[in-house]
């Protein structure tokens, strides 16, 4: 019997799963399919989750494996035919901070997958280097060097010389989300 704790945990992690899936696939459309598959697999394999360990890390492992085995090719096709979510959003952003965010997303999409995934895990999701290493099945040193290379490459792509204020503009986030939902059927 699946516990309410497990189900509540899944519900709590959905926003993070969507953000990780979108970062990985470069497509908002694919992200939700990927999250749905991840939830189904997690439910079916709930007995394999060890209580007390990180549910987020466990779910990210499932999502990542699903992505690499089933979605990677589809992701490229969607990006080729429709452009990445970054490009779509770039045309929707009309405020300066969102243009910055759109530029950042385009640069992020250009990173090799293995660098992008670890940069997101370590830099945005709150996972530790050790958890990222477990999820990717590599050594911690490898994670560190990938993160370093990802940062260096991003700085290069964004031509960051000084410090830019790239902070999010919360007031227009809702408008962007509405625009996005109209465009990709969120």
């Amino acid at each position: 019997m699946i516990s309410n704790d497990f189900k509540d945990g899944l519900i709590r992690e959905i926003p993070n799963l969507r953000a990780f899936a979108a970062s990985l696939s470069g497509s908002i459309q694919l992200a939700d399919d990927l999250v749905q598959d991840t939830l189904l697999k997690a439910w079916g394999n709930s007995d394999k989750f060890e209580p007390g360990t990180s549910l987020r890390a466990w779910l990210f492992t499932i999502l990542r494996n699903t992505y690499y085995s089933l979605y990677r090719k589809r992701g490229r096709e969607v990006q080729d035919s429709e452009g990445t979510y970054a490009e779509r959003m770039a045309t929707q952003g009309n405020q300066e901070s969102h243009l910055d965010l759109a530029d950042f997303r385009k640069a992020l999409a250009k990173l090799p997958e293995e660098q992008r995934e670890v940069l997101i895990m370590v830099g945005a999701t709150g996972l530790s280097y050790e958890e990222a290493a477990d999820i990717c099945g590599v050594a911690i040193g490898t994670i560190k060097s990938r993160v370093n290379r990802a940062r260096t490459k991003l700085a290069e792509l964004l031509s960051i010389g000084g410090v830019d204020d790239l902070g999010p503009d919360r007031t227009s986030t809702a408008a962007i989300q509405r625009a996005r939902s109209e465009t990709v059927g969120f």
Binding site: M1, I2, K7, L10, I11, I14, P15, N16, R18, A19, A22, S23, A31, D32, V35, Q36, L39, L40, W43, D100, L101, F104, R105, L108, P112, E114, Q115, L119, I120, G123, A124, T125, A139, G141, T142, S145, N148, R149, R151, T152, L154, A155, L158, I160, G162, V163, D164, L166, G167, P168, T173, I176, Q177, R180, F186
Partner: protein, 73 residues
């Protein structure tokens, strides 16, 4: 190991700077952008279909649990 990996991941590329240390201000700027990108999606409304899916899975399981074990033997 990391050098080998760098060479394999970036064939023909310039690997000399792969462990270069970035200006802390640049790192900080990238860190903020990463969070802005990620949190923008985290804070987006979650489509109902995920909650519907979990409710369906739960209902299926409860039906199975209610109908199955010893009383059917």
């Amino acid at each position: 190991m990391t050098n080998l990996e760098a060479a394999m991941a970036d064939p023909g590329g310039d690997n000399d700077d792969f462990d270069m240390v970035l200006d802390p201000k640049v790192q900080e700027s990238i860190g903020r952008s990463l969070k802005a990108h990620y949190d923008d999606i985290v804070n987006a409304p979650v489509p109902d279909k995920f909650l519907v899916l979990l409710a369906q899975l739960e209902a299926t399981e409860q039906r199975a649990a209610g109908a199955s074990p010893d009383d059917l033997k």
